[in-house]
């Protein structure tokens, strides 16, 4: 038992450095997914049939393949084919980010479409251009509605990030595996690995819950609990 603690004690700093890699990976991918996902959602709702068709194809592609297949396809396949010399970490952010943008775009699209059509009409009747109405009226409301779905995307992406182990990103699981094979003590090491993931998931979801409460529109849906 004591030896287990010794192993954990010695492995912990090394594992925690993996935490930073994982957080960087997830942060980068979520950010990239957000930046691409928003215009994609807007394009799918308000764009002409060519634009929305193109976006549907993109979403179909990234949602249709296992994340591991995507990683291999891009990292070992496409990136080296076009002579793009990326580190495993950067490649992982790109692939997870592109994939996440497909999912995120659908979260945002659902939120935009759940808004009453009258919001856009009212904005336009004031003389707002369509993009202004989207920016000042539609997105501020749609983003609020999107937080619970987005929180889900965070939790899923965080856990999916562990598969980047397969292309050699030195994140938490990679490090756990490395120590476990050297010390022959898989149980305590993978337990630590699990605890770290749970803390990260719970912590992130908690932060998003707080955000959701903070930006809640007063009076909106307040009576729902009473019905």
């Amino acid at each position: 038992m004591n030896e287990n603690f010794m192993v954990i004690y010695q492995a912990l700093p090394y594992m925690l450095r993996g935490c930073i890699v994982t957080i960087g990976l997830v942060g980068g991918a979520l950010g990239l997914g957000f930046i691409i996902g928003i215009p994609m959602a807007v394009g799918q709702v308000y764009g002409n049939k060519y634009i929305s068709g193109l976006i549907s194809f993109y979403v179909w592609f990234f949602r249709g393949l296992p994340v591991l297949v995507l990683l291999f396809l891009f990292y070992f396949g496409l990136f080296s084919l076009i002579g793009l010399n990326l580190s495993a970490f950067t490649a992982a952010i790109l692939v997870l980010g592109l994939r996440s943008s497909a999912y995120q775009s659908q979260i945002f699209r659902g939120s935009i479409q759940s808004l009453n059509e009258g919001q856009m009409l009212a904005a336009q009747s004031l003389g707002m251009k369509k993009y202004e109405a989207i920016l000042f009226i539609i997105l501020p409301q749609a983003l609020r509605i999107s937080i619970p779905g987005w929180s889900n995307e965070y939790a899923i992406l965080l856990k999916d990030s562990a598969v980047t182990y397969a292309i050699g990103v030195i994140e938490i699981l990679t490090r756990a595996n490395f120590i476990a094979t050297r010390t022959y003590r898989p149980m305590p090491i993978f337990l630590i690995c699990a605890v770290i993931f749970i803390i990260l998931t719970y912590g992130g979801v908690k932060v998003l819950d707080l955000l959701e409460n903070k930006v809640k529109i007063p009076g909106y849906g307040e009576r729902r609990g009473e019905i």
Binding site: N116, G118, Q119, L121, A122, A123, Q124, S125, L126, G127, M128, K129, E132, F136, I137, P140, Q141, R144, I217, P218, G219, Y220, G221, E222
Partner: protein, 256 residues
């Protein structure tokens, strides 16, 4: 003053609108002079709302022209946002921006569209809310307001843009009966203050007391029009008579 009253603010010329194979509007024309209030009545599905939306091009008509003063609205798509600023619109469902307070709802058009200075915009917005009796509710969100209050905010929002003409699309149809009065009061006051208005409504008492002219639309066509006393007491048209009888049965005589 006499001259001023003869200025035509809005002219609608032969508007046609088709959805699929169904022709909603089959050539509607009318004009409205400065300070006039026109009330449009007619059975539901007759194209009244579509007509209002064609005026500010929220719906693009298949044929026909709209003139605001001596400028053609339907002439150039690029200019449409300039015209929309001058055509205030009030919707049946209020359509307040749910994420903004009453004050910000009124302010946002001034700041984002008219590019007004934030401080001036706020002052003007408060002034407009005062006009509809809601300055105390300025910091409440739409979900915290009653239906009647929401509609008054939406009127203030449209008025803040200093429109040349106001369009009301059944402004009281989504309201509880006891809230209709406060909204009609505001619209009446507006009519008396000389605002030019086109009002689609089923409130016959209101039509009688403020309209300069009542237009009866059915199946996409104007089938009767005239001053309210003429139309309500002694309509020439048999169809108008029938419709008014039905409406009176439904809504009671009036609230004169």
């Amino acid at each position: 003053m006499q001259n001023n009253k003869d200025i035509i603010v809005l002219r609608v010329e032969d508007i046609h609108k088709k959805y699929g194979n169904e022709e909603i509007l089959k050539g509607v024309s009318f004009e409205i002079k400065k300070g006039e209030t026109k009330v449009i009545i007619g059975p539901s599905g007759s194209g009244k709302s579509t007509l209002l939306r064609c005026i500010n091009q929220l719906t693009i008509p298949n044929k026909g022209r709209i003139w605001l003063g001596d400028e053609e609205v339907t002439h150039d798509k690029k200019d449409i946002n300039r015209f929309r600023q001058k055509i205030g619109m009030v919707f049946q469902e209020f359509n307040l921006f749910d994420h903004l307070t009453a004050l910000k709802n009124v302010e946002i058009g001034l700041v984002k569209v008219k590019k007004m200075d934030k401080k001036d915009a706020k002052e003007k917005a408060i002034e407009e809310l005062k006009q509809v009796g809601l300055e105390e509710q300025a910091n409440l969100y739409p979900a915290q307001l009653s239906g009647g209050q929401k509609q008054r905010v939406s009127i203030a929002r449209a008025l803040a843009m200093d429109p040349n003409v106001m369009l009301f699309d059944e402004p009281t149809s989504a309201l509880d009966p006891e809230l209709i009065g406060e909204v009609l009061e505001v619209i009446k006051k507006l009519a008396l203050s000389g605002m030019t208005m086109v009002v689609v409504t089923h409130e016959m008492g209101f039509a009688r007391s403020v309209a300069n002219e009542v237009i009866f639309i059915e199946k996409g066509k104007i089938i009767d029009k005239g001053p309210p006393y003429k139309l309500f007491t002694n309509p020439d048209n048999e169809r108008t008579k029938k419709f008014l009888c039905k409406i009176t049965e439904l809504y009671g005589k009036s609230e004169e």
